[in-house]
Symmetry: C2
Subunit: 256 residues, 2 copies
Amino acid sequence: PARIIAVTNQKGGVGKTTTTVNLATALAASKRRVLVIDADPQGNASTGFGLEMEDRQHDLYQLMSGAISIDAAIHPSLVKGLMVIPSTGDLSAIEIELSDYEDREYRLKAIIDEVIDDYDYIFIDCPPSLGLLTVNALSAADAAMVPLQCEYYALEGLSQLMKTIEAVRNGLNPDLVLQGVVLTMYDRRNRLSDLVANDVRQHLGPLVYTTIIPRNVRVSEAPSYGKPVLLYDLDCPGSKAYIALAGEVIKQEGQA
Amino acid sequence: PARIIAVTNQKGGVGKTTTTVNLATALAASKRRVLVIDADPQGNASTGFGLEMEDRQHDLYQLMSGAISIDAAIHPSLVKGLMVIPSTGDLSAIEIELSDYEDREYRLKAIIDEVIDDYDYIFIDCPPSLGLLTVNALSAADAAMVPLQCEYYALEGLSQLMKTIEAVRNGLNPDLVLQGVVLTMYDRRNRLSDLVANDVRQHLGPLVYTTIIPRNVRVSEAPSYGKPVLLYDLDCPGSKAYIALAGEVIKQEGQA
Ligand SMILES: Nc1ncnc2c1ncn2[C@@H]1O[C@H](COP(=O)(O)OP(=O)(O)OP(=O)(O)O)[C@@H](O)[C@H]1O
Ligand SMILES: Nc1ncnc2c1ncn2[C@@H]1O[C@H](COP(=O)(O)OP(=O)(O)OP(=O)(O)O)[C@@H](O)[C@H]1O
Ligand SMILES: [Mg+2]
Ligand SMILES: [Mg+2]
């Protein structure tokens, strides 16, 4: 069955979507079968894979509210071997719609279980909050992946996030582990980048990937062309970093 | 009475906290009496003003849940003429606590009304979501201020945000207007910055401030010293930009 990874951090703008889109693409390029679920009403991951609004008629909101089957919600992407369940602003209504449901935290897990054997990886891109969508993602996931921007405010939020992951492990999902922490938007001109990177490695050690994602303008240009950066500019530092990160994730496959 | 401004954008990491902290400081330096309310459970605005955890015993969570009076929640800051109502992770519990309240959207407005004559400006720093805390801020506010990062994903979220502000104006707060859109983290090396800036000015015209906040490493360093950038490095491009922005906000005072 697939390895289900929730990409999460309640701090905004730290590279959750960028990491989901580009790591998933690098894994698909390494012949893994990958599904990306866009669980953020902003729909940025769907945009990152070039899905226009008309391609999102059948989206995660309709799937979670039971209006469509999962087959209708899974869309091909321009990346061979990578499928996407897209999102639109409609998804922000799901929190209220599910509020009376008995098992509202497990709605996403029930959906994913139907296709768990069709993929090697299922990534869930989370919104910047710890609400019902993120709880659904953490309850469905085998592991949480935490992008961490090399900035001071982002460092502050890390301990809150670890507490949340621990709370989910002690309640809704006892098997939840940390897949790893990914340092993002590292800028060697900014002396804070080193401070944050060293600080995180000191606290979390081997849980932090060796690969550091550099701040690279090509990474932020790619979504405006509806492409992952690997398809937009394979030779740029951003692409190389996400390919190296995929290498580290693949190495983790062998470990229990 | 004070002008109440909610600094909001559901897109994460666009400069909401940085704009709140530094614009409020520049206005206090121009002899305005300013109160900053940290309505984000991440507590970044509280950190930006140097409030340690022990200074946050009485926070917005306790105030909104009725445990303390507003006088206990208002703390002095290192900026003369600027007070802060701080936050901690406890605030994320308020959404559930208030869910059965009759007027849960107006909780913050009821609190602010008590001190509205003590200040010239009251800023509310919002979390990156459109949940109860942001709805409370928009329901209490005279106007919304929207920081917009000069990046592609950030542009995408703008129309959703405008719809939300419109929905609040048509329901909970008929007087809500747009104070203005602030372009942030503008980087002349990144050709997207110009694309986004031109695109936004084309759509929103005079609603976009003339002042553009440049990407400036001193701005992101300042919070690690618990200071607004104006106190950390008054001569840097970031400080100059926030001072210019305060000048534009002051010019708006005369307009009805
Ligand atoms: N390595 C990088 N180099 C340059 N820009 C980057 C990099 N990673 C991300 N960005 C840009 O930074 C911004 C924030 O990244 P992204 O949207 O992926 O973060 P996020 O955590 O998903 O945000 P949100 O909290 O809103 O979901 C985007 O405009 C993105 O293009
Ligand atoms: N002009 C700037 N130049 C350089 N860095 C900046 C600038 N403005 C903000 N930053 C940095 O970018 C990051 C995001 O900014 P900030 O935290 O203010 O955004 P936010 O919208 O409040 O985020 P959130 O959505 O998590 O509340 C922070 O680390 C901040 O220090
Ligand atoms: Mg995102
Ligand atoms: Mg903030």
